[in-house]
C-alpha cells in the first residue's frame, strides 16, 4: 500500500548512506533523534553547495520524522535509514518494524499528511494544536510549510516513511 509514492526518478537515487539502529537504542534517549538527524544531515550535505544551509534543512526534517517514529514506538527490531540523491532531491527512507496496529496508524497519519491541501489543513488546525497536537502534526508542518514530500510504503511487516527534500 502506498499513501503517496515518492516522486519517480528515472534511474533511482544514488545511495549515500545506510544506517541501522536498534529500536531500543533509539528509545534510550530523546536526544538520539536530533543526534542522528544532525549526523545524517551533515554527512549527506558535506559535498554540496552551502553545506551548512542544507545540513540545517535536512536535520530539521529528519529530526521531525525520527521524533514521530520515537513517539510511534515500533516493536523490537531495527530502524534502517537509507539516504540517496537524485539531481533534484535528497530522498531519505526510514524503515521500521510495523505490526498491524502500527501499520494502520502509519497509513492514517501519513495519509492525512500527504493530501494536496496540507497547507490549508495546517492553517485550519493550528489553533486546535495549541490545545492538543495530533501525533502527525510535525509531519504535516513539513509538508505544509517547508515543501517537503512525505510518503509511506509497506513491505513484509515493515513501514517505510519516504522523505523527499529538494536540494535548494
Amino acid at each position: 500500500m502506498t499513501s503517496e509514492p515518492a516522486p519517480p526518478s528515472p534511474s533511482g537515487p544514488s545511495p549515500i548512506l545506510t544506517l541501522r539502529i536498534s529500536v531500543r537504542g533509539l528509545y534510550d534517549s530523546w536526544t538520539h533523534c536530533q543526534r542522528l538527524a544532525d549526523y545524517i544531515a551533515r554527512f549527506v550535505a558535506s559535498d554540496r553547495f552551502d553545506p551548512e544551509q542544507l545540513t540545517t534543512r535536512l536535520s530539521t526534517y529528519l529530526n521531525e520524522v525520527l521524533e514521530y517514529v520515537f513517539r510511534a514506538r515500533p516493536g523490537d527490531g531495527e530502524i534502517v535509514v537509507e539516504v540517496g540523491r537524485t539531481d533534484e532531491h535528497v530522498i531519505a527512507e526510514l524503515t521500521m518494524p510495523a505490526d498491524e496496529a502500527l501499520a494502520a496508524r502509519l497509513r492514517d497519519d501519513l495519509g492525512r499528511v500527504s493530501q494536496p491541501d496540507a497547507r490549508a489543513r495546517y492553517e485550519a488546525e493550528f489553533q486546535a494544536m495549541l490545545t492538543r497536537a495530533p501525533a502527525e502534526a510535525g509531519l504535516l508542518e513539513l509538508v505544509a510549510l517547508h515543501g517537503v514530500k512525505l510518503g509511506l510504503r509497506e513491505a513484509g511487516g515493515a513501514g517505510v516513511i519516504v522523505l523527499t527534500v529538494p536540494h535548494e
Partner: protein, 390 residues
C-alpha cells in the same frame, strides 16, 4: 565542520529582548517549561514591545514551535497591550517560513526578517550586476596584496575563514597560493555565492566551502580559524564592531584577524584634483548619511586594538595608475560613478546639480588615471591583529 551549539536563552532587560540560540528540540511541554518560565518572566517585566531574537536559533522542532505559539497566545490574554516582535534571519532557512506563519496567526505578533535590510545599500551591493566590478577590484588589489598577506601572518595549510567573501575570488586566489587545510567563504548575497561556486567548479576546485550567512551572527564555531579575513566590507556596515566581534570570536587564540578597508576621501587624481577631492568627500558624506563609513580604513588600528588583539600591524596598499592596469583602474572608478550618482544619490535625494558635480569628479579621476601626465591613487588600508592566547 562540527558546529553544534547548545541551547541558550537570555533575557536582556534593558533591550526588552529575549535571545534564543542553538538547538531547541523539547520532547514535550515539561521539557519546554524552563524556556517558558524565562519567556513569562520577560513578558511580565516589560512594557510595550518584547523582542524575541531568533537570529541564532538554528534548530527548533515542531513541539517547540507549538510551545512558542502557546506562549504567544497566553501573552495575548495576560498582557493585551504587549506586542511581540519576532526577529528572524533568512540564514536559518526554516525561520522566515515558520515565524511568518506565526505572525499571520496572532494579532499581537510582528515578524521582522532583520537581514532583509540590515545594512545600507544592501540591494545594490548584493546584486549580481556588481560581479564584473568586484572581479576587476580583486584583480587590482590581489597584485599588491599577495605578498603582503605573508607579512600579516598567512601561511600554508592554515584554516581560513573569508567573511563577506563576495564572489569568492579572493578565496580562490588564497586557495591556489596558500593551499589551506580548510577554507570557508561566507556572504549574504546568494547571487555572489552562486557565482563563487560556479567559478570554483570551473577551476576544478572542490575544497572551498561557501556558506550563506550573516557576518554579525556567524554559524561558525569559536576559536577555530588560524586566519580570519574580511576585506572591503566593514566600511559598508553601520555597526562594524558587531562583525569584528564575530571575526575575533571564530579566530583561534594565536591566530590573526585581517581586514582591508578604504579611505575614500583620500582618493586622489591630478591634474583636476580639486574636483576629484570634492567628489570623494561628498560621496563619503552621502554614504555616511546611510550609515556607511567609507573612511573606515585608518580607524582599523584602534578598532583591532580595542578588541584586545595584540601585535596589530597596519599598512597601505600602494595602488596608483603607475603600478596598476589603467583600464581596470578606470573601470572601477566608472562603476563608483554609476553607484554614487545613481543608487546612493537617489536614496539621499541629492539635487541634480550636486549629482552632476559628483559625476564630474569621478570623470576627472578617470582622466587622471588615463592621462599620460596624470597621477591617481586609490587608498586601501590593511590591518591585522593577533588574538591573545588566553
Amino acid at each position: 565542520m562540527e558546529n553544534e551549539q547548545p541551547f541558550s536563552i537570555r533575557f536582556h532587560e534593558n533591550d526588552q529582548e529575549v535571545a534564543l540560540a542553538g538547538s531547541l528540540r523539547p520532547a514535550g511541554p515539561e521539557d519546554f517549561a524552563p524556556v517558558r518560565a524565562h519567556l513569562d518572566h520577560a513578558a511580565d517585566a516589560v512594557r510595550g514591545v518584547l523582542y524575541l531574537n531568533f537570529k541564532r536559533l538554528r534548530y527548533l522542532n515542531h513541539t517547540g514551535f507549538v510551545e512558542l505559539a502557546r506562549f504567544i497566545a497566553a501573552c495575548a490574554q495576560r498582557h493585551p497591550a504587549l506586542k511581540l516582535k519576532l526577529v528572524v534571519s533568512s540564514v536559518v532557512p526554516w525561520a522566515p517560513l515558520r515565524f511568518g506563519f506565526l505572525g499571520a496567526q496572532f494579532g499581537n505578533t510582528i515578524v521582522e526578517q532583520y537581514d532583509r535590510a540590515f545594512y545600507p545599500g544592501q540591494g545594490v551591493i548584493e546584486n549580481d550586476q556588481l560581479v564584473p566590478v568586484l572581479r576587476t577590484q580583486t584583480n587590482i588589489v590581489w597584485s599588491h596584496e599577495r605578498e603582503l598577506l605573508r607579512r600579516h601572518g598567512l601561511g600554508k595549510r592554515m584554516r581560513i575563514a573569508d567573511i563577506c567573501c563576495g564572489i569568492g575570488d579572493f578565496a580562490v586566489l588564497v586557495y591556489k597560493e596558500f593551499e589551506p587545510e580548510y577554507i570557508v567563504g561566507v556572504d549574504h548575497s546568494r547571487p555572489f555565492l552562486q557565482y563563487a561556486q560556479q567559478i570554483a567548479r570551473e577551476f576544478g576546485i572542490t575544497d572551498i566551502e561557501y556558506q550563506f550567512g550573516d557576518a554579525t551572527h556567524l554559524f561558525l564555531p569559536s576559536n577555530s580559524f588560524d586566519f580570519v579575513t574580511s576585506r572591503l566590507a566593514l566600511q559598508i556596515f553601520n555597526d562594524p564592531a558587531s562583525i569584528l566581534r564575530e571575526l575575533v570570536r571564530i579566530c583561534k587564540p594565536g591566530g590573526r584577524v585581517y581586514l582591508t578597508n578604504e579611505m575614500t576621501a583620500h582618493n586622489y587624481g591630478y591634474p583636476r584634483h580639486e574636483s576629484v577631492t570634492w567628489t570623494y568627500q561628498q560621496a563619503v558624506k552621502i554614504a555616511q548619511s546611510l550609515g556607511m563609513d567609507m573612511n573606515f580604513g585608518p580607524k582599523m588600528f584602534s578598532q583591532l586594538t580595542d578588541m584586545g588583539l595584540e601585535d596589530v600591524r597596519m599598512e597601505q596598499l600602494p595602488i596608483t595608475n603607475n603600478n596598476t592596469a589603467i583600464d581596470d583602474f578606470a573601470r572601477v572608478i566608472e562603476s563608483w560613478e554609476e553607484y554614487v550618482t545613481g543608487e546612493l544619490s537617489a536614496a539621499t535625494q541629492q539635487p541634480p546639480e550636486v549629482v552632476e558635480r559628483l559625476r564630474m569628479g569621478f570623470r576627472d579621476h578617470v582622466y587622471a588615471i588615463r592621462s599620460r601626465r596624470g597621477f591617481a591613487t586609490w587608498p586601501i588600508y590593511v590591518a591585522s591583529g593577533r588574538k591573545p592566547e588566553r
